[in-house]
């Protein structure tokens, strides 16, 4: 099990890389007013059909590394965490249409893991071999924050 929600986010978003996504959008909504925390990871990768979707949600099935030992627990972990914390878990996907994973939980739930080191999660996603655009949209009752890994390159601030 993961100790931080940001580890879940990294794990789910690594799937987007396997799905050849060009862009992954991570959104986090943290509302004390509504006592809700909602995580969403959405990509424009290859997507999954209904049969595959059913299998990935079962534990111990993975699309990766058939020869070796597939772990296949990523989505199952997140589902367990969100359902344990009074929330819902939902995956939407279709072949060629990308995948969207949404997990909600009660913000004040005693078992809710902390968000943790989100920065390192985003850094890790920026360090993958595939040049994937990583976007982070964080919102709480008081503040908003937006990050886009393509942004620095666009402005010419990084020597590529």
């Amino acid at each position: 099990m993961f100790e931080e929600l940001s580890q879940h986010i990294l794990d789910i978003a690594m799937n987007s890389i396997s799905a050849n996504a060009k862009k992954v959008q991570i959104s986090i909504l943290e509302s004390r007013r509504h006592d809700r925390l909602v995580l969403r990871v959405r990509d424009d990768g290859c997507g999954m059909d209904a049969a595959m979707l059913k299998r990935v949600l079962a534990q111990r099935w993975s699309s990766k590394n058939k020869r070796r030992k597939p772990v296949g627990l990523g989505l199952a972990f997140l589902r367990q965490t969100s359902e344990m914390c009074g929330g819902h878990f939902h995956v939407r996907s279709a072949p060629g249409r990308g995948t969207s994973v949404t997990a909600s939980m009660r913000l004040s739930h005693i078992d809710r893991p902390p968000l943790g080191d989100l920065n390192t999660t985003i850094l890790a996603l920026c360090a993958t071999d595939r040049k994937m655009d990583v976007q982070l949209n964080y919102r709480s009752d008081e503040q908003r924050f937006f990050f886009d890994s393509q942004e620095p390159a666009k402005k010419g601030e990084v020597n590529l």
Binding site: M1, F2, Q7, L10, D11, M14, I17, S18, I28, E30, K64, N65, R67, R68, K69, V71, G72, L73, G74, F77, L115, D117, L118, N119, T120, T121, I122, L123, A124, L125, C126, A127, T128, D129, L136, Y138, S140, Q143, F145, F147, S149, E151, P152, A153, E157, V158, N159, L160
Partner: protein, 123 residues
């Protein structure tokens, strides 16, 4: 969630994006699958990035990849040298990660007691 920390992220991400442009002497590949993350691969990566920055090593690039198929000995880090020599380090933690940066990436001396498997040379 601290907004200040998120602002620092932009700066760090820019550096990281600049670091993966290739042509460096050492290429460090961190395995970041489900089991890697669960056993601390993310913290190992962060420690290595910080340590590389602290020591001012600019001939190193750090990459992240999915499972290497070595789930039982995660966190796993692969160090590839420009000559094609590859070293796999396993069962790492932040202290061991610092040692690899100090010894292997800075001084060019392999840390034999942390390495696993036989040396591989690729053409």
């Amino acid at each position: 969630m601290n907004l200040e920390q998120l602002k620092q992220l932009k700066e760090k991400a820019q550096k990281q994006i600049a670091l993966r442009e290739g042509g460096k002497k050492y290429r460090v590949v961190v395995s970041m699958g489900t089991s890697g993350i669960a056993s601390g691969a993310r913290e190992v990566m962060k420690t290595m990035l910080d340590e590389i920055e602290k020591r001012g090593l600019d001939d190193v690039e750090v990459h992240v990849t999915g499972e290497h198929g070595l789930e039982d000995i995660e966190p796993v880090v692969l160090v590839e040298e420009a000559g094609g020599e590859k070293t796999t380090y396993a069962k790492l933690d932040t202290e061991k990660a610092k040692k690899i940066v100090a010894e292997h990436l800075q001084k060019g001396r392999k840390v034999d007691n942390l390495a696993v498997g036989r040396q591989k040379k690729t053409e």
